[in-house]
Amino acid sequence: MEAAVIVKDLTKVYGETTAVDVVSFSVNQGEIFGLIGPDGAGKTSIFRVLTTLLLPDGGSATVDGFDVVKDYSQIRSRVGYMPGKFSLYQDLSVEENLNFFATLFNTTIKENYHLIKDIYVQLESFKTRRAGKLSGGMKQKLALCCALIHKPTVLFLDEPTTGVDPVSRKEFWEMLKQLKAQNITIVVSTPYMDEANLCDRIALIQGGKLLSVNTPGNIIKAYPDQLYAIKADNMHALLKILNGYDEVLASYAFGEFAHASFKNKAVDLEGVKSYLTKKDLTGLELKKTGATIEDSFIKLLKD
């Protein structure tokens, strides 16, 4: 089966800034592919090239087998795109916006209603409300409906969950899972590392370069060091002490614990504990722990 998206040596330059720096990856049909990285990593530029809104400065890309430069009109009629910034018509109602997008793509709400049904029912009681007057969560749902109404083969979602609270983020990912079940390929970007686990495959991106492309499971498996989770009553003191501790390879805060790896693979945990106790730390807890995507990202950034 041909890949839904193929990106080869893609480069995008703005003046002196190389936003996308010789990036290559491909997205299989029907998978949820995540571009994971902070603001300014180049995610939006990649999305805009793939949706034919921006011309690349180097390299090439295809979506559904169509070239992003030559075949832009075919791509535009096939893909759905939800930009990071809300870009529906604020002065049109919920229903009018949806109708407008359906009409643009020569279809009707009725024809593809099955695709948006689960999402749209949550909006139906507001269907006469102007889009500009909707809550953030509702706007996001409407934007997703509008991106879906022409039954796209590939759906591009640029940071759909940024600034969204954890409960709404969870709900949004539930919706994506249902869309995947309908065989729509989804390319989604996010700065939240915890969302990486919800993708089939991910690309970690920073400064316009890909750090790694793989399944979340394989990225975690490739983590080279044994990590330890360490807890103390005074987190700030613990972090400072770990930072200045000779035996430590890397250490940083990780929620209620600090994560640390040690230079010596056969580290003497009792020795570590007594060192930390001598530094007046109380409430110490020390245990082995597995790496997460965020640990992998930190490791890759530091290398």
Partner: protein
């Protein structure tokens, strides 16, 4: 008990029939890192605006650094720092121009500004970038600079509204080092975030749902109370039933 720097009692803000903040009551001590969490639309921004002296409450009372939120809003503004992801620095000014501008706004003398800006540029390793436009800095640097500017005048309290949104995991941690250091100097930190690991770094957390404070305790006690392992689950348990969106 330390010195109380934020004290609210049944603080309420109504917009017509809509009660954005509904009788919120809490206290924050000097040097504390206080996490102010809630779902989108729960009323966090409204509450924060009242605490910063930018919005007059409908009822209830509050004092910020000892000043009344109804009558002493100008004194409040002089004693706090504020930073949000949406607005922080002037992109078209250079790093040093921003520092001078905000130093001036906060009423520092030229000499104080000179001393403070040298110190700030040194601490952040930004000496080489002093004459660059803020627009040209990576986001993470902007956020660190913006925080340092917000505490330039050594305010009693600094309000941080989602300061780390979209920032990479390494810079996010460097940002929290700045927060810890400020707290060690006695600056009270009042912070909102959607990152639940950051909630763990706070001394205490309040969680707002539909305008009300539904829980307020240390992260450890909250997890114990709800019988869960992570702050994410605490948030989910409390906010899942929220009726309001933003």
């Amino acid at each position: 008990m330390g010195e109380t720097v934020i004290k609210t009692d049944k603080l309420t803000k109504r917009f017509g029939d809509f009660i954005a903040a509904d009788e919120i009551t809490f206290e924050v001590e000097k040097g504390e890192i206080f996490g102010f969490l809630g779902a989108n639309g729960a009323g966090k921004t409204t509450a924060m605006r009242m605490l910063c002296g930018l919005s007059i409450p409908s009822s209830g009372s509050a004092t910020i650094a000892g000043f009344d939120v109804y009558k002493q809003t100008e004194q409040i503004k002089r004693n706090i720092g504020y930073m949000s992801q949406k607005f922080s620095l002037y992109e078209d000014l250079t790093v040093i121009e921003n520092i001078k501008f905000f130093g001036g706004i906060y009423g520092l003398t030229d000499l104080q500004i000179k001393t403070k800006s040298d110190e700030l540029l040194h601490n952040l390793g930004l000496k080489q970038e002093a004459k660059k436009l803020v627009a040209s800095l990576p986001l993470g640097w902007k956020q660190k600079l913006s925080f340092s500017v917000a505490v330039l005048h050594e305010p009693k309290i600094v309000f941080l509204d989602e300061p780390t949104g979209g920032v990479d995991p390494v810079t996010r941690r460097q940002f929290w080092d700045l927060i810890y250091n400020a707290a060690d100097r006695g600056v009270t930190i009042f912070v909102t975030t959607h990152y639940m690991d950051e909630a763990e770094y706070c001394n205490r957390i309040s969680l707002m749902v539909d305008g009300k404070i539904k829980a307020l305790d240390t992260p450890r006690n909250l997890k114990n109370t709800f019988g869960v392992e992570t702050m994410d689950e605490v948030f989910y348990k409390l906010a899942r039933g929220a009726k309001r969106g933003d």
